[in-house]
Structures are given as structure tokens and as C-alpha cells.
Amino acid sequence: MATRPAAAPPVERPLGHRLRQRLPGIAGGLLVAFVMVVLFGPVLMLALFSFNDSSIISLPWEGFTTKWYEEAWSNGQARDAVVNSLLVATVVMVLSVVLGTLAAWGLTRLRFRGRGFIAGLNGAVLVVPWLIIGVAGLIFFSQTGVPLSLKTIALMHLVVTFPLVVAIVSAGLVRFQRSLEEAAIDLGATQRQMLRYVVLPQVGPSIAAASIFAFAWSFNNFEISFFNGGFEQTFPVWVFSILRQSENLPIVNAVSTVIAAAQILAVFGAWFLMKRLTRRGGDGDETLTGLLTGGTR
């Protein structure tokens, strides 16, 4: 029997070996960097060129200016579109958080006939493409004689947005142990006290996350606003109509930069706030990652 020669334990690892051990980490870092550049690079360039002193969005760099922001500010159409979007998104956010939280409570805590049907209806809304909901809304309103306006946009936004709130808040309610609610009732709390002091602190982060997503869904929605707005435009519809008619315009860069900056602030501000809120409860990051992945499971 031939014995294999035992390999001597390496005293100092050669550079190649060390490199090979580090390679997965480097490759992972490169992958993350690549994805981030592809996702955010274009938007950064867009922001950069909103300050270029040239009416053509291209090289060469002609110098720094803020005149596109001034022009955008005095452009009535641009301002109306942004204001319309903010208005619709705020109304949709408030209503869908109220309706969605009510429905989530009803679906997770009550047992009754037809529960499966209602849950299925909520789920179906999330799967049907917005284009089809938009077209269906347009046909529906035209057949029933309802004039298209911001109101019809908001109604259709509400219909697709509150089921999202239902999904996020239900996930929070399911994770949370019902025995705590029963304990509160057993200890003499009224239904209202139990909701206020036991349930709300637990599902608070879910509701907060749901309201942020609800606002963003309405604010960013293009398809439904496009088909159900008639002559009233939201911000995405305004950008779309400009791009359909003409070449790229620097004022679109300016408005888009403001919108993107506000959205970045909103997402990171919300993260910061929720981190403080959930830290108090103990498991900060776990709750947050749970929230992010919870809706998709």
C-alpha cells in the first residue's frame, strides 16, 4: 500500500493563495458596486446635467447654472403636475392606510364566511397589471359617464394601493402573538385599550412602512394616472407627454432632480426614524429586514 506523502502545513501562505481566499469577497463587492452604478449612475448624470448651461443635454459641459430650476419653477404645467401628484398621493396614502389596516385586522382576527373570497380579491388586485386596471378604469368611467379628473385617478390609485397595505399590515399582525391580546383582555383591558396599548405599538412599524409604500405607489404610478386623468396630469404623465412630443428638455432634468432628491431623503429619513422606533423595542435590524422581506413571502 502506497502511503500518500503528508503535506507540510504552510507556514506562510503565498500571495496567490491569499488572493484566492479573498476573491469571493472582492467579487461580491464588485457585483454590489456594479449594480449600484447601473441603478443610480443614470439618475446622478441626470442630476448633474440639470446644472449644465446648455439647452442640449449632452457633452460638452458648458458651465454651471441654476436657470433650469428657475424656469421649471415658473413653468405652470410642471408645477401643476407636481402639485397634483402630491395631492393625490397624500389622499391615497391616508385613505389606503385606514382602509387597509381595517381590512387587515378583519382578515387576520375575525372568522366568518366569505373570508377566503375577500382575501383572494385583495391578492388579485396586487397581481393584475396596472396597465389593465388603467384601461379597465377608463372604459368603466366612459361607459358610466363619469368625467375623468384627479378624482378618478385617486379612486383607482386607492383601489390598487390599499391591498398593499393589507398585505404589509397582515404580515405584521400574523407575526405578532395573539396570546398577548387575549392576556390584555383577561387582565381587564377594554377592546379599545387593548388596541391602543398592545396592538398599535406592535404593528406601528408595519403601518409606517405601509404608508411610505402607499405614498410612493400613488406618486410613482404612471399607467393608471395616464388612462384615468383626462386632461389633468400628474408628474409621471407630464414627463411622459413631454418626452413623447419633444427631445429631452433641461427643465425635466431640474424637476426630476428635485423629485429624486426628495425621494432619497424620504426613504433614508424613514429608515432612520424606524430604526429609532424599533431600537426601543429591542431587535432593530431584524425587524426591518423582516418588514422588507415580509411582504413578499
Binding site: L121, V127, L131, N220, F227, F240, A260, D285, T296
Partner: protein, 298 residues
Amino acid sequence: MESASIPVPARRHPRARRWLQPLAFLGTPTALLLVLFLGPMLVMLGVALDRGLLDGGPGFNLTLTNFTDVITDPLYREVALTTFEIATAAMLVQLFVAVPLAYVIAFKAGRWQLPILLFLVLADELNPMVRIYAWRMLLGREGLINEGLMRVGIIDQPIDALLFSQFAVTVVLATSYITYTVIPIYGAMKAIDSNVFEAARDLGAGWWTTARRVLLPLIAPGIFVALLLVYIPLFTDFASPALVGGTSGYMLGNVVNDLVLESGDLNRGAAMSIIMLVLSALFALVAYRLARINRLES
């Protein structure tokens, strides 16, 4: 045996309240869904089955011609094929990026895990129209990429195929939905006990075998959820092809838009929408089933 009938009168009142509570919580939301979700769908189905004012006159005239017209039109069949190609290409690109990316986030990122996830959420929250516009700016004939390359001297002529092509639509779509591809797969990976990787290595499996035989079956439910969330919107997207697709990137969503708004043919537009709705529903059902089955096995 006769004693069973005693508590009946006493029960009446609680039973009446039993459906009152669900009504209080779910009445308004459900009414909203019935009127503004199911209602429009049914009206659209009705319009799709109607001959229309021009062909059939006023009133409802039942017909299937809208459906047969749309299905047999060779132009639409070609568009359907293009749509399938673009949506599938965008989906594959996303999966090829998302699986390793989710792996890095879940197992290698350490304290960077949450910030990376947050940036992905941010990428999704950014206004889609802003994103499309930004790509249009980069990819155009006088766009930054062409101008930059020409200035450096790598090319003499602008590359026309960058914008208004299937390539442009694929790039824009892949970057638009990547968040919804990564997060379900990441969720599935988080549920994995990382000891299985060590076990696989101890048993002599290389990284490729581990990825294929251990990791992939475990994240299959996440992949099916990603397909459910992303593939259907990819199929029906119409803003991206309308703005960066030109004539070669014309997709089914544009057909619906042109039928309904450009030619005002509500009946055929409705028929096309119903067909797309049925296809998405079938696809959603299959993906959902697969996600469920795979979860039970794992």
C-alpha cells in the same frame, strides 16, 4: 336527543353580531374592490364582447369578433413574440444578477446588509419616469455614452442601436424591476441554515455543485415569487417601450394603448386587455403553485 334544540333562541343575538363585526372592518374596503376593481373588469369584458357602436349600432350586440380579430392579426402575433423576447431577456438578466447579489447580501455583506437592501428599495421608489428619462439621456444618438465614446476616440460614428431598440427596452426594464427580483430570493436565502453549505463542502461538493444541488432547490420558492411579481409587469409594461423602444421595441402594452387612445377602438382594446389579463392570471396561478409546492418540499 331532543335536548339538542334548547339553546337555539338564546343564540340568535350573538349570531347577528357575528357578521356585524366583519362588516364594520371589511365593508368599505370590499365594496370599493367590488365597485372599482371587479366592476371595471366586468364592464371591460362586456365591451370586449360587444360589436361596438360603428359595427353593431347602439345597444349590446354579442360577438367574439373582437377576440378573433386580435388573435388572428399577424402584426399582433409578431408584437406578442417581441414582447415575449424582451420580457424573457429582461427577466433572465435580472435573475443572473439577482441570485448572486441576494447571496452576497444574505451571507457576505455583514453590516452592509441593511444599507444595500435600503438602496434596492430606494431604486424601486425612485420615480420610474425619472429613471426612463435618465436612460434616454444616456443612450440617445447625441446621448452621453455616444458623445463620450466619440470624444475619447473609441468610435467615429454614434451607435444608433443604443436607443429606440430592444436592447434599450431590456436595459430599462431590467433596472426597473430588479428590487422585486432580489428581495424574494434574498428572503428565501435568509431562511437557509448556512450549515448546509459547510455540510456540502465537508462531503466534497465544489461550489458549482453546492450552488446547483443545495442552494438552487432551497431558493426555488423565492425565484417563483420573483417571477410572479416581475414577469407579469414586464409583459404589460408600456411606458418603457413607448419612450425608449422605437418601432423595434413595440410591445403588447403599446398595442393596448394605441387601440384605446389613438384609434379609439375600445372594443378591440378591451379584448386585447382581457387576453393579457387571462394570460397573466394563468401565469400567476402556475408560479404561485410552484412556489407553494417547492416550499413544502424544502
